[in-house]
């Protein structure tokens, strides 16, 4: 009985995906919009922060490192709760009226993945700085000149870092559920829709969305491997960083 229900659901899911169902497309489109925006902001904040931490030694660097590691381990639902408290009508940023909007979801996901971007980019920059930093200084470059050099030297690994952050963002459910509210045609994304459709017994749509998520995971991992392979061949060296398997992990309900 259960197996026939499952096979029916899979058949329906494949039909929905192949027919590019409108509600499915809307949910997928919002998911990508939110997660890509969050990745963009996290990259803008995270990459320079990681680079500064790698190149400069300053007071409080160790504490900052511990803080970032701690933030990386924060449960998404807690991040959602913090953003909820900030954006709720009685919160300090309540005046913006962002709660239960895609903007609130972008803020929550940015907070969630920025520490991941920093924590993953920091060893990449540190390693490159260790191998080229002293020589660059001896060639007359100032530390600030080395930023663009470091970005270029680390670009292949940074693509992997950004893909890992995107994987983490698009598979996240706890924070977006709390601050987005899973409102139909407004803040419903793939993960929140899967949870809701499963609860309501609408397994076909839930599975269809699940298939898209799995496809995303496949594409992200394939892209990361391609980048590693391509740049590794180009540079004539093996790359040291592989994509962390963050997909679907640490996502509490």
């Amino acid at each position: 009985m259960a197996s026939s229900t499952l096979s029916d659901a899979i058949t329906q899911a494949l039909t929905l995906v192949s027919q590019a169902d409108a509600s499915l497309l809307e949910i997928i489109s919002l998911s990508f919009k939110v997660s890509l925006s969050a990745v963009l902001f996290a990259t803008i904040i995270g990459i320079p922060t990681a680079m500064l931490m790698a190149v400069y030694r300053f007071r409080g660097r160790g504490i900052l490192h511990i803080l970032i590691d701690t933030l990386m381990a924060l449960p998404p639902v807690v991040v959602g709760l913090i953003v909820y408290l900030l954006l709720s009508s009685s919160g300090p940023l309540g005046i913006w009226g962002l709660l239960y909007t895609p903007s609130a979801m972008i803020i929550a996901q940015t907070l969630l993945i920025t520490p991941i971007v920093i924590a993953l980019a920091l060893p990449v920059f540190s390693q490159h700085w260790l191998s080229i930093g002293e020589q660059m200084l001896l060639l007359g470059l100032k530390r600030r000149h080395c930023f663009s050099v470091l970005i270029k030297e680390s670009s292949n690994s940074l693509i992997t870092v950004i893909l890992a952050a995107f994987g983490r963002a698009i598979a996240e459910i706890g924070a977006v559920m709390v601050v987005g509210g899973n409102i139909e045609n407004h803040t419903r994304v793939m993960t929140t829709a899967i949870a809701m459709e499963t609860r309501q017994g609408n397994l076909a749509l839930a599975l269809a969305l699940g298939l898209v998520l799995i496809l995303c995971a496949l594409l992200i991992n394939a892209s990361a491997h391609f980048c590693n392979y391509y740049y590794g061949r180009k540079a004539g060296q093996q790359l040291l960083l592989s994509l962390p398997n963050s997909f679907g992990k640490n996502n509490d309900q």
Binding site: I132, E134, Q135, L138, L139, G140
Partner: protein, 244 residues
């Protein structure tokens, strides 16, 4: 071609302690203002540390390095035992530091050169550097895909392009075959006519062929610092080679 107006440098009572280990102890000597000074010594004797102190990338624990009658230290650069090249073409590897140095110099001199003048000057220096090291044919190759010897030539050409007053070479031929070593020795000899060179090496042959004066380090202390002839007749060398 390369700047040549600079003055000698003195190491005065230098001690260097790293994590409770005394790496250099009571180092005193003066390096002359021309020719090639060779620093010899067994592994871990402190040769590279001495170069790093001179380059300013490390600080002494006690003592000081005194640049005679110079308001500021002369320009210098260093080529390590294993060339540190960037993940880009040979041409770009030479162009990158040159770009920042030309930019900094023109800012310092308040020069009114246009961008096209600067680019033209830079391109000419790079082409000259490649021709000097006889590696023009490698110009467009990815630097990291080159052999160790070729990489070392690129690093040397890059240092040449910067026209330093002092060039520090840290066991630059340590990983090279005899033919390549000979070629690099010829380039070092050529460079020494226009800039001061301080070279560390384990090769007695290289030291004999290139040095104007030789400093021997043993366990972080200066064992002897003398001109080449005196050094090769000294008891310290015999002791270093284990002959006495």
């Amino acid at each position: 071609m390369i700047n040549s107006v600079f003055l000698p440098v003195s190491f005065n009572n230098i001690d260097l302690i790293i994590s409770t280990k005394t790496c250099l102890s009571d180092v005193n000597f003066t390096i002359s203002d021309n020719g090639i000074t060779v620093i010899m010594g067994s592994n871990g004797s402190g040769k590279t540390l001495l170069l790093k102190l001179l380059a300013g990338v490390m600080q002494t624990t006690t003592g000081n390095i005194h640049w005679h009658q110079q308001p500021q230290p002369p320009t210098l650069t260093m080529v390590p035992a294993k060339a540190v090249l960037l993940n880009r073409s040979v041409w770009e590897n030479i162009a990158l530091p040159l770009h920042y140095n030309i930019h900094a110099n023109s800012k310092r001199a308040h020069a009114s050169k246009t961008n096209s003048d600067t680019v033209e000057t830079k391109n000419k220096i790079i082409d000259d550097a490649l021709a000097w090291a006889n590696i023009t044919y490698l110009k467009q190759r990815q630097a990291k895909s080159l052999s160790t010897g070729e990489q070392q030539l690129v690093a040397l050409a890059r240092a040449w392009a910067l026209k330093p007053q002092i060039l520090l070479l840290d066991e630059i031929t340590a990983n090279l075959d005899p033919v390549r070593t000979q070629k690099i020795n010829a380039l070092i000899q050529d460079l020494s006519s226009s800039c001061k060179i301080i070279l560390t090496t384990h090769s007695i042959k290289q030291a004999k062929g290139l040095a104007s004066d030789i400093l021997l380090l043993e366990q972080g202390c200066v064992s002897i610092h003398a001109d080449t002839d005196t050094f090769f007749n000294s008891n310290e060398l015999q002791h270093f080679l284990g002959l006495v």
